[in-house]
Symmetry: C2
Subunit: 211 residues, 2 copies
C-alpha cells in the first residue's frame, strides 16, 4: 500500500456502506461490476481503488464481502473505536448527537461542550429518546477536557464568529482532526486535518447545475 489517491480514500466509506448492505442481503461474494453499480461508478474504478489496498479479490470469482469489509475498515482505522466530541451544542449539535450511524461505524461520542452557561451541566438527552449518559460541559477547560477524554476527532458546530478561536483551543487540546460545520475556513497548523461541511455550498453547486 504505497500511496492511495485522495479520491480513492473518499470512496472507501461508500464501498463499506454498500458492502454492509450486500452482506445484509445475504451476499457472500461480490464482483467489481456489482459493486460499481451499487456505488455508482464503473468496474475499472472499483478494481483500481481496491488494488491500492492490496490483492483483495480472487480472479474468476470476485471479492469476499466479509474480508473486504475487514480490509477497508482496517485501512480507515475503524478497527478500534474513535473517540469523538461535539463542540457547540445547538440544534445541529443535538441532531448529530442523535444520529445512530456514528456508533454503528465505530465512532463514540465521548464529550459534548457548549459555551452557554445555561446548557452546561445539564444532561445531553435526546428529547423523548434514550438518555445518552453524557453531560454538557462548559468550555472553561476545553483543552484539558479534550486531552483527558482522549478525543480523536472534534465535530465543530459553534457559530462562525467564534469558530476560529474555538478551533485553535481544540488543536491545543491535542485533537488532530476536525469536522467543521461553521461556514468559514479554519486556519490551523498543518498537522490538524480539517474537513468542511457546508450544506449551503452543496445547494449552490446544485443550483449551478439547474442552469
Amino acid at each position: 500500500m504505497e500511496h492511495v489517491p485522495d479520491q480513492t480514500i473518499n470512496r472507501l466509506p461508500v464501498y463499506l456502506r454498500c458492502l454492509t448492505r450486500a452482506r445484509d442481503q445475504g451476499l457472500r461474494v461480490v464482483n467489481s461490476l456489482q459493486l460499481s453499480i451499487m456505488v455508482g461508478t464503473n468496474a475499472a474504478q472499483v478494481r483500481k481503488d481496491l488494488s491500492y489496498l492490496g490483492e483483495l479479490g480472487t480472479r474468476g470469482i470476485g471479492y469476499d464481502v466479509d474480508s473486504l469489509m475487514a480490509q477497508i475498515s482496517g485501512v480507515l482505522g475503524l478497527t478500534e473505536k474513535r473517540r469523538v466530541a461535539i463542540v457547540g451544542y445547538g440544534r445541529l449539535g443535538g441532531s448529530l448527537l442523535g444520529y445512530k450511524g456514528f456508533a454503528e461505524r465505530g465512532f463514540d461520542i465521548v464529550g459534548i461542550f457548549d459555551a452557554d452557561p445555561a446548557k452546561a451541566g445539564r444532561a445531553a438527552d435526546l428529547r423523548g429518546s434514550v438518555a445518552t449518559g453524557l453531560t454538557v460541559r462548559s468550555m472553561d477547560h476545553l483543552e484539558d477536557d479534550l486531552r483527558e477524554l482522549g478525543v480523536d476527532i472534534v465535530i465543530l458546530t459553534t457559530p462562525a464568529e467564534v469558530a476560529q478561536e474555538v478551533a485553535e483551543r481544540v488543536a491545543a487540546g491535542g485533537v488532530r482532526a476536525i469536522l467543521n460545520f461553521a461556514p468559514l475556513r479554519l486556519r490551523l497548523p498543518d498537522d490538524v486535518r480539517v474537513k468542511e461541511v457546508d450544506v449551503s455550498v452543496d445547494l449552490q453547486v446544485l443550483s449551478f447545475h439547474l442552469g
Copy 2:
C-alpha cells in the same frame, strides 16, 4: 464560458463566501493572492477558476468585489431565488429549517413534508424561535404539491429505508436537484442531479488520515 471544470464549480460558493466577508470588512477590490489566502488555495488557482467565467479582473489592480460577487452569483443561478422543500421533518430536517444561511444565499424554504400523520398539519416552528409560517404537509400528494409549489431543489432527510421510493416521487414531481442526507445512493434518471451528504463518510475519511 465554454466548459467549467467540476472542481471549479465546487469552489465558486467558497469564493462567494469569502467575498462577502471581504466586502463586510470594507474591501472594494481584492487580488488573486488575497482571495487565495482566504479560501486556502493559491493565486494561480484563483485566476484560472475565475478566468473560466470571463475576464473579470483588471490587470495591475485585481477584482472588484461587488461585480465579482454578482458574476459568481449569476453563474451559480442565485440571482433569482431558488425554491427549496425539505422532505422528512425529523431532527435533521428541523435543524436545517432553522439554518439562517439559506435565506441569506437566496434559498427559500417553501415546503416541508413528513409521512408521520402526527406531524402533518402542524405548524413547522422552531422551538423558542420565530414562526416560519409553514405547515408540515403529509406526503399524500407529494408530487402534486412539489409541482404546485414550483420547487427547484429538495433536501431529502427521510430514513434510508424509504429514501429511494420518496426520491422517485420527488423526481416525478418535476424536481431536478436533490440534496440527499439518507445514507444510500439514489438511483434516479440522469436528468435529476443528486448530491450526497453523509457526515459519517466525512468522519471515516478523517479517521483514515489519523493513521
